[in-house]
């Protein structure tokens, strides 16, 4: 069974995670400055989450009519495992669990900005009753 049972649950949990990330003072200004639009195309459950530098950094859950700089295609389960750091980006990319469209340098540039989300996600997942190994 999928970790996120429904799309709206996924939007609430991952959307909240990203909201916290773009509002984080150590990340938000750098993300806005990067001028990168990211689209996560998620399967099982199906959904889209967008991160845009507009309006000081915003998160949009659901279809949105922008042209992404980077598009990451992955499953909801891979999202969960990635944010729990059970799987690293290179391994996920190498195994095809995450497919990325967009300049690799920009993808790599984003990675160090994700640190606060790695720290926050286990707590968020636990609060929402999702499985967290070792918790």
């Amino acid at each position: 069974m999928a970790v996120f049972e429904r799309t709206d649950t996924m939007y609430r949990i991952l959307g909240g995670l990203f909201e916290g990330l773009v509002k984080d003072p150590s990340v938000g200004p750098k993300f806005v400055e990067s001028d990168i639009i990211i689209k996560f195309t998620i399967s099982d459950p199906d959904g889209e989450i967008w991160l845009s530098p507009n309006n000081g950094g915003e998160v949009i859950c659901g279809p949105y009519g922008l042209s992404p700089t980077i598009e990451m295609t992955l499953s909801g389960d891979t999202c969960h495992r990635f944010w729990l750091q059970e799987i690293s980006m290179p391994i996920a990319l190498a195994k095809g669990l995450i497919k990325a469209k967009g300049p690799l340098p920009k993808v790599l540039k984003l990675l160090p900005l994700l640190k606060p989300a790695y720290a926050a996600y286990p707590g968020i997942a636990k609060e929402n009753g999702l499985e967290v190994k070792g918790a």
Binding site: K30, S88, M89, P90, I91, L93, A94, K95, G96, I98, K99, A100, K101, G102, P103, L104, P105, V107, L108, K109, L111, P112, L113, L114, K115
Partner: protein
């Protein structure tokens, strides 16, 4: 005369970068490579040699960080700019371009992991380095495994009888490394660290490999003599021996679960880069031959006034222009698509190295007897191009690998 830029989307930054790197390659790298070509491999790598002076200049210009994100202080160039830098450096010297390209291996892998430990240990020292003292090599081929070690996906890659010669065993928080890498490790005699491809699970054959980032200054590491070879003599290559050397377990960044796919990903980037390098070599030979043909008089006319020479120049022009278009597209696609489509990078490498060999061969012919002489750089370009058909995977083996991919795509 500079070639006509067919890509009308080139930004001003791209044009400025191309001109700057071209000027550096012609003014600094080419004359240095010609001097180093006359030296023994030991003289090339001697302390304070011309090789080191050139590498230091490239580090000072930050060219070593082409693939490292600007988030860490690297240049973090876009795919087209990356191609431009590699092509133009190789226009001056294929050997220096390969040496610089290999220098970033550990920092590049670390930038994919991007945790604090990796950043501090591998990326920051590399980006901040200005004396070329922090330099990687790609430790993949072995005495008994040349191009076959790159042929992931093919049946032999999962044959338990065929495994990497560098073996590891776990000891507490470390891996203990034993074995040998081949004479063909670029930067092998001088690198400070290595992206080492090892075997973790012999029962899986080569697919049971792992990739670890290893310090080469430690006890238990020794090097062979730098290789004395035909082409790209400015590029130091040589064996590395591991005798109970140690690698912290956390520096084993890839294990057998994803080894095959990461080998593919690495090959996709390396072969796309080779396509760019050898476009530069072809362009260099074409430019020199065209110039010479306007100066040299034979049969009472300039060489370029002979129709047979014009035909040859046209063939060289076509090969060089197609190499540039194709290798740029392959690099742009595969640096924008992860996982990459490896067969396009392989095709770029195979096509461009063959184009470079054909163009340098024609250039030697246009130069006539002088083409064989060391008075002109053409014979060196020919030798450099010949090496390209073997390095980074022999073209025959790579073609088999890509052919296998094509068939698998339609049958699986």
């Amino acid at each position: 005369m500079p070639y006509t830029e067919l890509d009308l989307t080139l930004a001003e930054d791209h044009v400025a970068l191309k001109e700057a790197v071209h000027k550096f390659a012609v003014g600094v790298l080419r004359p240095a490579a010609i001097e180093l070509d006359k030296m023994t491999p030991e003289q090339v790598i001697a302390k304070d040699s011309l090789y080191w002076r050139c590498m230091k200049k490239m580090y000072e210009l930050n060219y070593h960080t082409v693939l490292i994100s600007d988030a860490y202080g690297g240049l973090g160039l876009d795919p087209l700019a990356t191609h431009i830098v590699w092509e133009e450096l190789a226009y001056g010297s294929a050997g220096f371009a390969v040496s610089l390209g290999c220098s970033c291996f550990n920092a590049f892998y670390a930038s994919m992991m991007a945790d604090d430990y990796m950043i501090e240990k591998f990326i920051v020292p590399f980006v901040e380095c200005r004396d070329a003292g922090v330099m990687s090599c790609w430790g993949i081929t072995e005495p008994d495994h040349g191009s076959d070690i790159l042929m992931s996906g093919t049946p032999h890659f999962r044959d338990p009888k065929v495994v990497q010669q560098v073996k590891v065993r776990r000891k507490g928080d470390d891996f203990i490394l034993n074995g040998q890498k081949s004479s063909w490790i670029s930067n092998g005699p001088i690198a400070s660290n290595v992206s080492l491809f090892v075997n973790l699970q012999p029962a899986m054959g080569m697919a049971g490999g792992g990739i670890c980032l290893v310090d080469l200054s430690q006890k238990g590491i020794s090097r062979g003599k730098p290789l004395n070879k035909m082409g790209q003599r400015e590029l130091p290559q040589g064996e590395i021996f591991f005798d109970n050397a140690v690698c912290p377990a956390r520096d084993m960044i890839i294990d057998q679960e994803s080894y095959e796919m990461m080998t593919d990903l690495t090959l996709a980037h390396a072969n796309a880069t080779m396509g760019a390098y050898f476009t530069g070599v072809a362009q260099a030979a074409y430019d020199l031959a065209l110039q010479y043909s306007t100066e040299r008089i034979q049969g009472g006319r300039r060489l370029c006034d002979h129709q047979s020479v014009q035909k040859k120049l046209f063939d060289m022009f076509v090969r060089t222009a197609t190499a540039r278009s194709f290798s740029r597209d392959a690099m742009k696609y595969n640096m924008n698509t992860t996982p990459p489509d490896v067969k396009y990078s392989i095709a770029s490498k195979v096509y461009c190295t063959q184009a470079a060999l054909d163009v340098t061969n024609d250039a030697v012919q246009i130069f006539g007897g002088y083409g064989l002489s060391k008075e002109f750089p053409i014979e060196k370009l020919f030798r450099d191009a010949r090496a390209g058909l073997i390095e980074d995977g022999s073209n025959d083996s790579l073609a088999l690998t890509a052919g296998n991919m094509i068939v698998r795509e339609v049958t699986q």
